[in-house]
Each structure stands twice: as C-alpha cells, then as structure tokens.
C-alpha cells in the first residue's frame, strides 16, 4: 500500500508550471465523463478512459466503441465550435491487458481545428508489484498520441504552414480498493512537444490526481450504484478541480450524473439497452451550462456507445 502512495506522491511532484495548450486540454471528451463535470480520472472503466486515464482500459471487460458529437455554447450567433470524440477499447486478456484507440477533435469551421489521435495499452500490475489484489486492484497504462493543429491563416500569414503535428504520450495509474476507494493518476503530454508556428509553443505536461469512491448502495442515503470522483488538476502552476457524481437506477440501466468545475455545471444521463445476451447499446447525453459566458443556452453532448464480446 505504501508503495502505491509513494509512487503517486512522486508523480504529483512532477507538476509542470508551463502554459498548457488550451486546445488540447481534456475539457470536452466523453459524454459520460462530461455528465460528471469531467471528473473521471479515478472512474475510467469504459471507452472514455483513453483521454482521462489510460490505465482504466485494463478494467474494461468487453470490447467497446463510443462516438460523441456536440455543439458548444448554443444560442450565441457567430460561435460555432464543436468537439467530437471516438474511443475504442479492445481487452485482449487479463494477463495481456487491453489496447485502445481514441480520436478527439475540437474546431471551428474555416478557423482552426485541433485533433488528437491516441493508441493506448494498459494492464493490471498486481503480479508485477506483488501487491495482493484482494485489497487493491492496480493497473497502469501508456498512451502514444499524435497531436495535430490546423489553422486557416489569413493571406498575410500564408508563409506559415497550415498544419503542425507532434508525437507525445501519457501514462496512467489506477488503484481500486476493496472498500470502494479509487485513486487515479494521469500524467499527460509527457514530452511537452513543440508545435509552435512562429516560436516554440509546447504542449505542457499536465498532471491529474483523481480521488473516487464507489458503492453499490451508498450508506445512510441508500443511493444505488453510486460513484463519486474529485479530480485535482495541476496546470500552469495552478490547481483546478472537477467534481462528479453518478448513480445508476432502474436495474442499473439508467445513469444519472451531476458534476461541475470552476467555469461550468454539468448534468447528464445515459441509458443502456442490453440485447443479444451480452451486447449493450448505450445512449448518453450531457449538458453543460457555463457560468461566465453570457447569453449562452449551454453546450450539448451526445454519444452512442456499443459494448460487445
């Protein structure tokens, strides 16, 4: 147990004080995660894991693919920003772990677009660490990612190339304890790649610690299939947080979510349709209302996911 905390503490000390590249922040990926305000680093047990904490894909028991579309800041004439996400997880075997692919894209037509392509691998590491999985289930993973930005420059800046790209990686660790406690740590953009046009412009290393709790029936208040997550994000020398809650009702078919961060509050829900024995189709929706941007009706996110053996 001490080893786990030591490792996590060490990784937190790697916090970078550089400026993060706003376009590649993981603000808008995965509808289930968004319903929980983006607090997902210690939850990560589905195809939304690759961008939050790659270690989480080791806990996926079925193959899964998810596709998300969105419309940000509706109600504002002249603002047309969309965020799209595609995630896929393929569990090979317990002893071999899982692999994943994820693509995320944030953009405004005829202005700019930021894409991330991720190839991930994760496995359970109790056998390597020698820690008994009766008390804690440990997993770790690595994401290799290609970042690409595409800018539609004006005529006078046409000497600059339209697109720039770079390769970097993420690592993640997840610890799920027998008593429901979950700890996750994800360090992203490990190599701080430079994708600047005019000058060095690094995508800074970003570290997230997730503290979560899971209970099949939350004591005292009897909330079924309850999950909570608090993400502490160390970014640009500042500490930010995200908080999310989730509960599944109706025989664990309907997920209800609530979350938030400094700039917005989120709600969401998802319904699982099980068919053909073990296959599941999931429809998720999330809504985000920004606090600071005026006259917006909020942002809408919808995803279709499919889990199968």
């Amino acid at each position: 147990m001490k080893k786990v905390f030591l490792v996590l503490s060490f990784l937190i000390l790697l916090v970078s004080a550089q400026t993060v590249f706003a376009a590649f922040e993981d603000t808008y990926w995965g509808v289930r995660a968004l319903g929980m305000g983006g607090a997902f680093t210690a939850v990560v047990n589905d195809a939304n894991a690759p961008l939050y904490n790659i270690a989480g894909i080791a806990n996926c028991v079925q193959k899964e693919i998810t596709l998300m579309g969105s419309r940000l800041f509706t109600g504002l004439d002249g603002v047309e920003i969309s965020a799209n996400y595609l995630g896929a997880v393929y569990p090979i075997a317990d002893e071999w772990g899982s692999v994943s692919f994820a693509w995320s894209s944030l953009g405004t037509p005829a202005l700019a677009r930021y894409d991330t392509f991720n190839l991930g691998y994760a496995r359970k590491i109790n056998d390597i660490t020698g820690i008994d999985d009766y008390y804690v289930n440990l997993s770790a993973g690595l994401n290799i990612k290609y970042l690409r930005q595409e800018i539609n420059f004006d005529e006078e800046d046409k000497d600059l190339s339209n697109s720039k790209g770079a390769v970097t990686g993420d690592i993640g660790i997840l610890a799920t304890f027998e008593n429901g406690l979950r700890l996750g740590f994800s360090s992203k953009y490990l190599t701080s790649p430079d994708i600047g046009y005019e000058e060095k412009d690094s995508v800074s290393n970003m570290n997230v610690l997730g503290i979560g709790y899971f209970s099949e029936l939350l004591p005292y208040v009897n909330i079924p299939t309850f999950t909570a997550d608090l993400d502490l994000i160390f970014i640009d020398g500042e500490l930010k947080f995200r908080l999310g809650l989730e509960s599944y009702v109706l025989d664990d078919k309907l997920g209800i979510r609530l979350g938030g961060r400094e700039e917005a509050i989120n709600i969401g829900f998802g319904y699982e349709f099980t068919f053909l024995n073990d296959s599941t189709l999931v429809i998720d929706y999330a809504f985000e209302l920004p606090f600071e941007i005026e006259e917006s009706y909020g942002s809408h996110f919808i995803a279709l996911s499919f889990r199968f053996n």
């Binding site: 706003a22 596709l67 004439d77 944030l106 700019a112 420059f153 600059l160 000058e199 700039e263 941007i293």
Partner: protein, 377 residues
C-alpha cells in the same frame, strides 16, 4: 452468428458517422453523393428585372447562378434586351461581367424608361474553359422566348365611388405581385382618378430601419375622403435582405413618418398588405439588424507578435471579453485608442494566452456580439 452480424453492423454505423463528423463538411459529402446521379447543370435563380427608381430610371436585375458541375469554369453574365420591340441590345457590352458561383450580382440596364416601357429580356451566362472558349451557355428564361416586363413609374385609374375598383401598379417585375389598391364600392366620397406613383427611395437615417420602396398615392381631385379602409398591397422590391418590414405613412412630404399596421407580409411575392384610410406617401422599411460585422475583428487568426485582434467602432462604455473554449474568462478590454479596442493575446495577468480557439463577446450599445478567434504562437 446473429451476434456477430449485429456487432459488425453497429461498427459500420459508428464508423460511418465518425467519418461524417470528421469530414466536418456534410454539404460537400451530400453534393458528392448527388453527383452520382449524373451531371449537374448550371441553374440561374432569383432573376427579375424591375424599376428601382422611377426618377433615376434604374432598371435592375438581381441574379445568382449555381454553377453545378461547371464550378471549375469561369463564367460571364449579360442581359440581351429590346425596348418596345426594337433591336436587341446587350448589357454590359462584350462578353459581360465575370461572375462567381452562387454569388448574387446585379446588372443595371441603361436609362431608357419613358412613361410606359415594354422590355423583353433574356439573361445569358457563358461558361468558358481555360482558353476562354465557351463550353456551355445557359439562359433565363431558357429557350428563345424572352421575359417580358412592363415598366412604369405611374398608374392612373378612374374609380367611381359606387363601384370601386382596383388600381394596379406593375413595377416591371414579372415574378412577384404588383402593388395595388383594392377599393370596395362606396369607399370613396366621390368619383376620382386614383394615382400610384413610385418614387425614388429617400435617405432615411435610422440604425434599425432602412427604406426599401416608396410610393405616393393621391387623387384628382385631391379633396376626396376615404369612407372605409382600402386594401393596399405594396411591392417592396428585390433588394431587401431582411424578412421583417414596417409600413409608414405621411400625408405631406415634409411630415414625419408614422407607423401603419401591416396585415400581412408576403415574402414569396415580396409585398406587404395593409388597410389604409388616407392618401399620401407610403414607405416600406426593412428592419435592419444592428450591423454586427463592423465590430467583429476582420482578422480572426492572429499570430503572436505579428498582429493583434482589432474590435472596431467601440467607444467608452463598451467592452470586449475573451474566453477559453472551456468557458473561462481570461481578458476583459474596456478601453482602446483611435484604432478601436485591441487584444494582443495577453491574459488579464499580463501573460500570453496559450494557442487555441477563443470566444469573444463584445458589449456595444447594450447588445452582445459573440464570435470565435484563434490565437497562434
């Protein structure tokens, strides 16, 4: 087996949707799909010729051409016309004006309007290859029969009080409804000549309205009374871009305009209809949306150190706020210099913002204008 087929189908659907989203230009995808049906021919739309001003005698044609599969070609446009059955002339002379795909343009015919003029015209679009050779010609109307337009600036009709009548003013536009007065029996106090005259659009200064058409309705003799309201339909013309109109009235040219209630706005026929109880001047005004464009930065992508974002036309009391795509405000600008308000890419704390898309919100005259810009390093 069923499970495998269902899984495969779901994957195909999800991948198909993902490709669609990644393309981010669904119309192009749709267009490509339509092209499987065969060659898409050019089409001419929104064509009409009308009297814009009776005094300046401007005859105007508003044209838009979808190039179809000829989008890689250059195209020129002209109008072949004849006046009162005379010889066929061409405007502009030569090959015509160069036009672009789906862009509206105007061709004005020369000043030849007399009291009543008949014009037969045909719009001709020539598509040319790189060598300038005509590879396709399309016309409106298609075929050899030209479009006929009767152009006038004044109509006069004798109306008997007991029978009433319809006074119809055809501005020359054959596609849309004419202006007209439908006078019911016993609506006038005595028999009279009723005249509709189209006047030159006035300069009307307002931040929210601009004049689209102006008519004078009067009688000879001029001392008749309107005993019951007359149904009046006014054609407002080709040029307005708004869908909302206001009808105004003034008895004398020197009077101030007063609003008249519009009973119906017919966007298809480009008319407004109202019941009027007085003769005088009637102006149709389009409601103009506050011109947002002038405040927005013309340059939407700025590279650090090369330029700044310029928000023009703002004054003391106005403000610009800059937000990240995550919704966090990073800069508020509440003053500027003679060139307007500027954002150089710095946050409120003096550090440069990171590269990315930002949302701006301009507060001007109590109104909020939003948009997106990209800051690049």
């Amino acid at each position: 087996m069923k499970k495998k087929i269902a899984g495969l189908l779901s994957l195909i659907v999800l991948l198909g949707v993902s490709v669609y989203i990644y393309a981010a230009e669904p119309l192009k995808v749709l267009s490509a799909y339509v092209k499987f049906g065969g060659v898409i021919l050019p089409t001419i739309t929104h064509t009409a010729i009308e009297t814009v001003s009776s005094i300046d005698k401007i005859l105007n044609a508003k044209i838009s051409v979808d190039f179809g599969d000829y989008s890689d070609s250059t195209a020129t446009a002209r109008i072949d016309y004849s006046v009162d059955g005379g010889s066929v002339e061409q405007e502009p002379p030569g090959e015509g004006i160069t036009i672009k795909n789906n862009e509206e343009f105007f061709i004005q015919l020369p000043d030849f309007l007399e009291s009543n003029t008949n014009v037969d015209y045909q719009i001709v679009i020539d598509f040319r290859d790189e060598q300038g050779t005509i590879i396709k010609t399309v016309t409106f109307p298609s075929g050899t029969q030209p479009q006929h337009a009767e152009l006038t600036d004044t109509v006069t009709k004798d109306v008997t009080a007991s029978a009433g009548g319809i006074v119809e003013f055809n501005s020359g536009n054959q596609q849309y409804e004419s202006s007209k007065l439908e006078i019911a029996p016993n609506s006038l106090s005595s028999d009279a000549q009723i005249i509709i005259k189209q006047l030159t659009i006035e300069d009307y200064i307002s931040s929210t309205e601009q004049m689209a058409a102006l008519y004078q309705v009067y009688s000879i003799p001029d001392n008749i009374e309107i005993l019951s309201p007359i149904k009046a339909t006014f054609y407002y013309g080709l040029n307005p871009t708004s869908n909302k109109f206001v009808l105004k009235y003034k008895k004398q040219d020197s009077d101030n305009w007063k609003d008249i209630s519009i009973s119906n706005t017919d966007l298809q026929n480009k008319t407004v209809m109202a019941y009027i109880s007085s003769l005088g001047y009637y102006g149709i005004f389009e409601k103009v949306k506050e011109e947002d464009k002038s405040y927005r930065p013309k340059k939407r992508v700025v590279v650090k150190g090369r330029d700044v974002f310029r928000f023009n036309g703002l004054q003391q009391g106005d403000s610009v706020k800059i937000y990240t795509t995550g919704g966090k405000k990073i800069r508020e600008i509440s003053s500027g210099d003679a060139d307007g308000f500027k954002w150089d890419g710095k946050k409120d704390n003096g550090d440069y913002a990171s590269s990315g898309i930002y949302v701006y919100q301009i507060k001007v005259k109590g109104k909020l204008i939003s948009g997106t810009i990209a800051f690049v390093k």
